[in-house]
C-alpha cells in the first residue's frame, strides 16, 4: 500500500518536473529552430522544423557586432563577479567569525539589501551615475551589478563558512598564519563549491541584465549582448531569425558554464538556509 502511494507520489512529482522542464525548454528549442529558418518560413510555418541547417541568420547577427557585444559582456560579467566574490567572501568570513551583536545586525542589513529590486532604484541610480559623469563606462555597470550581487553572495558564503572546520583555522594560526593569510591560504582554496555557485548565479544575472545596461550604455562599442541584440530590431520591422540567432549565441556560453560546474552549484545550494 505504502509502495503504491510512494509510486503515485513519485509519478505526480515526475509529471510536474517534466511539465516544468517543457515550459522552460520549449522557448529555447523554439529560439534555436527559428535561428535556422528564413524570415518567410518563420512566419509561414513557425512551429515546423527548419528545412535545412541555414546559418545565414547567424551571419546577419554577427554582422551587427555580436562579437564586440560578447567581449563587452564577458568583461563586465567577469569584473563584476570577481568583485562580488572577493568582497562577499571577506565580508561573510568576518561576519561568521566576529563575536557580538553588531555582526548579526550587519548581516541582517546585508540580507535586507537582497530584498530591494533594482527597478525600484533605477531612477536615482541613473542620476548618481550621470552626476558622477560615468555614463557610457563599463565601471558604471560593474559597480551597481556588484552592489546587487553582494547580498545574496554573502548569504551563500555565510552558510558555507559557518560549517568550515575551526580546527583548520586554529592549525593555521599555530603554523603562523594571520587572519588574512588563513583566509587566503586555507579557507579560499577549500571554498571551491561556494565560489563556483556564487559565480554561476551572478554570471547568469549579469550576463542577462538588460534594463540598467540599456540606460547606461548608448555608445555602440560598449553595449553588452542583451542591449546589442536590440539593434537587430528596427522601428517597424524585426529580423526575428537574426534576433534568435543572436540570443542563441548569447545563451551558449552560460549553458556551457552551467553544464561544467553544475555539481558545485547544486552542492552549495544544498547548504543554504543556515
Amino acid at each position: 500500500m505504502d509502495n503504491r502511494r510512494l509510486n503515485a507520489t513519485t509519478l505526480v512529482l515526475y509529471g510536474f518536473v517534466g511539465l516544468w522542464s517543457l515550459v522552460v525548454l520549449i522557448p529555447i528549442v523554439f529560439m534555436f529552430m527559428t535561428s535556422m529558418k528564413t524570415r518567410n518560413s518563420m512566419f509561414m510555418r513557425p512551429l515546423d522544423l527548419p528545412e535545412s541547417l541555414n546559418f545565414q541568420a547567424f551571419e546577419r547577427a554577427w554582422g551587427v557586432g555580436i562579437g564586440q557585444f560578447m567581449v563587452n559582456s564577458v568583461l563586465v560579467t567577469f569584473l563584476s563577479v570577481a568583485l562580488i566574490v572577493v568582497i562577499s567572501g571577506l565580508a561573510a568570513y568576518a561576519l561568521t567569525r566576529m563575536q557580538g551583536g553588531w555582526s548579526k545586525l550587519t548581516y541582517l542589513l546585508i540580507v535586507a539589501g537582497f530584498a530591494i529590486p533594482m527597478q525600484a532604484v533605477l531612477v536615482p541610480l541613473f542620476q548618481i551615475i550621470s552626476g558622477a559623469g560615468m555614463l557610457n563606462s563599463r565601471l558604471a555597470l560593474v559597480l551597481p551589478y556588484a552592489a546587487y550581487g553582494i547580498p545574496f553572495t554573502v548569504i551563500l558564503f555565510y552558510a558555507f563558512f559557518l560549517d568550515f572546520p575551526r580546527e583548520l583555522e586554529e592549525a593555521a594560526r599555530l603554523d603562523g598564519c594571520t587572519r588574512f593569510q588563513t583566509f587566503m591560504r586555507i579557507i579560499l582554496p577549500l571554498s571551491g563549491p561556494a565560489i563556483a555557485s556564487a559565480a554561476i548565479f551572478q554570471s547568469v544575472f549579469i550576463w542577462n541584465e538588460f534594463i540598467l545596461a540599456l540606460l547606461i550604455l548608448t555608445q555602440p562599442d560598449l553595449k553588452t549582448l542583451p542591449v546589442g541584440i536590440l539593434e537587430l530590431q528596427g522601428e517597424f520591422t524585426a529580423d526575428w531569425p537574426a534576433v534568435m540567432a543572436g540570443l542563441s549565441l548569447a545563451t551558449l556560453p552560460l549553458l556551457l558554464v552551467f553544464v561544467l560546474a553544475q555539481k558545485y552549484f547544486v552542492r552549495s545550494l544544498a547548504g543554504l538556509g543556515k
Binding site: P165, E167, L168, E170, A171, A172, R173, L174, D175, G176, C177, Q181, I186, P189, L190
Partner: protein, 372 residues
C-alpha cells in the same frame, strides 16, 4: 624542550567559569596528562597554553618566557588536534612543511625537517599523498609530524587518539611513548581516557569543574587519591563506594559500621574521623578476594573476559552508595576465570586494610594499604 608554568590562570565565558585559578608547573621533558570528565576544563586549559583562547587572569610561561599575550605561533608550542586538522588541499609534505614555510625557512631546511619527521613516524611512503588518501592512523601520524617539524619547546595533544579504533589506539599509545623517549620533549596531553593517562603519563593532572583536583604520578593518584572524585575517576571498573558510620575511634583503629549488623575495625593511617561521623568507604574491585572481612553477594551479572572475571551483584547487609548503581550493586574483579552463575549467592572477602575512608565532604581520611 621547555618548562611550562601556569600561574593563577582563569578563563570565563560570560558567567560560566571554565577554568578557575589554576596553578601548575610542568618540568622540561615531562609527559603530563590532563584528564577529567567532559566539560571539566582540560581542553580549555590546553587551548590557553596554545594561545587559541585568551585568559581572564593569570600568566602562562613557556621555557621561562611569559607568553600569555603572544600569538599561538610565537609561543614555541605545537598542537595535535583530535580531528587531525590536516589541510585537505595540501599533500602530506605540504602539511608538514607549512609551519616552516610560513616562518620563511629555506626550502632545503623545510625538506630536511619533513624528511626527518617522516622517518621518525615511518610515513616516508605517503609524503606525496593528500590527506583523503590516508587512513585514520596515518593522518594522526602526519598531524604529529607537522608538530615535530616545527621543533617546538612543548607539544600539546588534544585527545589525539579519540577518533581511532581500539586496536590502533593501543598501538599509537605505545608509539607516542616511544616518540616521547626519542625526542625527550615536553608533552602535555589531554584525554578523557584514564587508560591513556595511566599508561603514558609521568604525571597526571586530574581536573574537575574547572579546578585541579590532584597532580601526581599515575600510581600515586591511584593509591593515594586526595578525595572521592579522584578515587572514583581512576580505575576501571571504578571503585565501589559504600555509605558507613565511624562508630568507634581510638588511637589505633576506626570501627566502620556498614549496617547495624555489619562492622569491622580498620587500622588508622590518616586523619581519623570523629566518632559517629558519616563516612564513605571505598573498595577497589580488585581488592576483593582474601581478607578478614566477609559478606554474601547475590550475583546479578557476570562478565567473563577470559583472563579476568567481573561480577556485579547486590551485597547482603549493605549497598553501594553510588546513585547509578542498580539495586545497590557493587562490582568485584577476579584476576582469573571463575565459574559464577547469575542468581547464585557467593561468599566474598576483603581485607579491612584495603579500604579507603572518605569523610562527608569527600576528603580522604584513610588510604588503603596497597602493599601485599
Amino acid at each position: 624542550m621547555g618548562s611550562v608554568s601556569i600561574a593563577n590562570v582563569s578563563k570565563s565565558y560570560g558567567s560560566f567559569e571554565a577554568i578557575k585559578n589554576i596553578v601548575l608547573q610542568i618540568e622540561p621533558g615531562e609527559f603530563v596528562v590532563m584528564v577529567g570528565p567532559s566539560g571539566c576544563g582540560k581542553s580549555t586549559l590546553l587551548r590557553t597554553i596554545a594561545g587559541l583562547e585568551t585568559v581572564n587572569a593569570g600568566t602562562i610561561s613557556v621555557g621561562g618566557e611569559d607568553v600569555t599575550h603572544r600569538e599561538p605561533a610565537e609561543r614555541g608550542v605545537a598542537m595535535v588536534f583530535q580531528n587531525y586538522a590536516l589541510y585537505p588541499h595540501m599533500t602530506v609534505t605540504g602539511n608538514m612543511g607549512f609551519g616552516l614555510k610560513m616562518a620563511k625557512q629555506a626550502q632545503a631546511a623545510i625538506n630536511g625537517a619533513v624528511s626527518q619527521a617522516a622517518r621518525i613516524l615511518h610515513i616516508e611512503d605517503h609524503l606525496h599523498k593528500q590527506p583523503k588518501a590516508l587512513s585514520g592512523g596515518q593522518k594522526q601520524r602526519v598531524a604529529i609530524g607537522r608538530a615535530i617539524t616545527r621543533e617546538p619547546k612543548v607539544f600539546l595533544f588534544d585527545e589525539p587518539l579519540s577518533n581511532l579504533d581500539a586496536a590502533l589506539r593501543t598501538k599509537m599509545r605505545v608509539e607516542l611513548g616511544r616518540l616521547h623517549n626519542q625526542l625527550g620533549a615536553t608533552m602535555i596531553y589531554v584525554t578523557h581516557d584514564q587508560t591513556e593517562a595511566m599508561t603514558m603519563a609521568d604525571r597526571i593532572v586530574i581536573m574537575n569543574d574547572g579546578e585541579v583536583e590532584q597532580v601526581g604520578s599515575p600510581l600515586d593518584l591511584y593509591n593515594r587519591p586526595v578525595n572521592r572524585f579522584v578515587a572514583g575517576f581512576l580505575g576501571s571498573p571504578k571503585m565501589n563506594f559504600i555509605d558507613a558510620l565511624a562508630t568507634d575511634v581510638d588511637e589505633k583503629t576506626v570501627r566502620v559500621s556498614l549496617s547495624d549488623t555489619f562492622s569491622f575495625d580498620v587500622a588508622r593511617n590518616g586523619t581519623a574521623p570523629s566518632p559517629d561521623d558519616s563516612i564513605t568507604i571505598g573498595i577497589r574491585p580488585e581488592a576483593f578476594g582474601e581478607g578478614d572481612v566477609g559478606f554474601e553477594l547475590d550475583v546479578r551479572i557476570v562478565e567473563n573476559l577470559g583472563r579476568e572475571t567481573l561480577v556485579y551483584g547486590t551485597p547482603v547487609g549493605f549497598a553501594s552508595s553510588e546513585s547509578d548503581a542498580e539495586q545497590g550493586d557493587i562490582v568485584i574483579h577476579f584476576p582469573r576465570q571463575r565459574e559464577v552463575r547469575t542468581g547464585e549467592r557467593i561468599s566474598v572477602r576483603f581485607s579491612a586494610n584495603a579500604i579507603h575512608i572518605f569523610d562527608a565532604g569527600g576528603i580522604t581520611r584513610h588510604f588503603a594499604n596497597t602493599c601485599s
